[in-house]
Symmetry: C2
Subunit: 197 residues, 2 copies
DNA sequence: CTTTTATATTACTCATGAGTATTATCTATC
DNA sequence: GATAGATAATACTCATGAGTAATATAAAAG
């Protein structure tokens, strides 16, 4: 017979955060539909009605997680706007630096990343926004003559997103690469290609 | 009051194929959990028990679709083994040709592609297999001196899969690119990079 | 032309899991 | 120290949708 009523020292916001944390783990591991509220509350040592004190529905808590990922990532990509007038040398380093920041966030928030990037229904829209932002950057540099003029930067930007998406899973989350190495590898690949010269 | 019993001229295999077709559309559009057997049978003009004449469960029909995509794609990638002793010129054309075949299959089987590549739970494993096959190809060419020797072909192969995955959705399925154009664009990007020389 | 087999239907069961009504206890405030 | 508001538990409801039992008819086999 568990204790009824408010427990000694219990503070709502802590239960809420615990629920968010466990929910993120479950959603990331099982996807939306296969995640049960009953499992989340069990893992958070809370009962089901308590869950509904803090979140109006299963969708609501999921959306809160997605929103959190979305807004942080948007900020990071926003910040990755390149300053104009870079030297060619620093261009590579600059892009690498911004990418590293993004990968670092991914690495430190794996559950959220999986949810926002792979599980959420509007993962597609989010990736589109990020691609658009990247494309804007690339176009500027292309106009400045850094890149070949005949390349479609829409394709490049989308490709970059595809690469990030895939390598985050197979290299970053498996521990095969650190954010910095991964960023460096990608930048060199995209800038120079693989062919011998 | 619909007619009971076997209908004039009705042939099981036709109902079965119709169910597969409608199921593919629904799964591709809504995902696994949000697809209802009741919707599939409605769209196929069949009743629910008839569905279970041909498929033992919802999972079974889903897996049949996934398996079909998986095996065709495996074949295509298998065939994309490059012959040894290619000239440098023909290497680019050769890779582009194989990629075009894959994109053509994707374009002609959009529902199946979405299911096998994006919705299925073992989409990740499938992509891993494809990446492994691509990597094998690339390593051979790298040993033959076509590619820069210091590049990690595991990363390149996975990147290629990521690019295919993303561009299939945003370029191929939207009609922005035909298979051949898309393949060409990707090959040039990966081989040469984007930087001005 | 009778029997068997394949194809189909109507009308159900039943498990699951999201969400709730009710009640209890703790803490802060006056 | 009485009261209000916040936090929690027990024990439920209820919709949904996968899967089934029982039955009927067409076509093929003998």
């Amino acid at each position: 017979m568990g204790q009824r009523g408010r427990r000694r020292g219990s503070i709502g916001v802590e239960s809420r955060n615990l629920l968010l944390e466990k929910a993120a783990e479950e959603f990331a591991k099982c996807g939306f539909h296969e995640t049960k509220i009953s499992t989340i509350v069990k893992r958070a040592n809370v009962t089901q009605p308590s869950f509904y004190l803090y979140f109006s529905s299963k969708d609501a808590i999921f959306q809160e997680l997605v929103g959190s990922f979305h807004s942080t990532l948007s900020d990071l990509v926003q910040q990755s706007r390149l300053e104009s007038g870079l030297k060619l040398d620093s261009l590579e380093a600059e892009i690498e630096y911004k990418l590293t920041a993004i990968f670092t966030y991914f690495k430190n928030n794996q559950d959220l990343t999986k949810i926002g990037f792979y599980i959420s229904k509007d993962a597609g829209r989010l990736k589109g926004q990020i691609a658009a932002q990247i494309e804007e950057n690339l176009l500027k540099e292309q106009r400045d003559g850094y890149f070949q003029p005949d390349i479609d930067m829409h394709t490049v930007a989308q490709s970059l997103v595809g690469i990030m998406e895939r390598l985050t899973i197979v290299k970053l989350f498996t521990g095969m690469r650190e954010p910095g190495n991964l960023a460096n590898e990608i930048v060199r690949l995209i800038l120079n290609g693989i062919i011998s010269r």
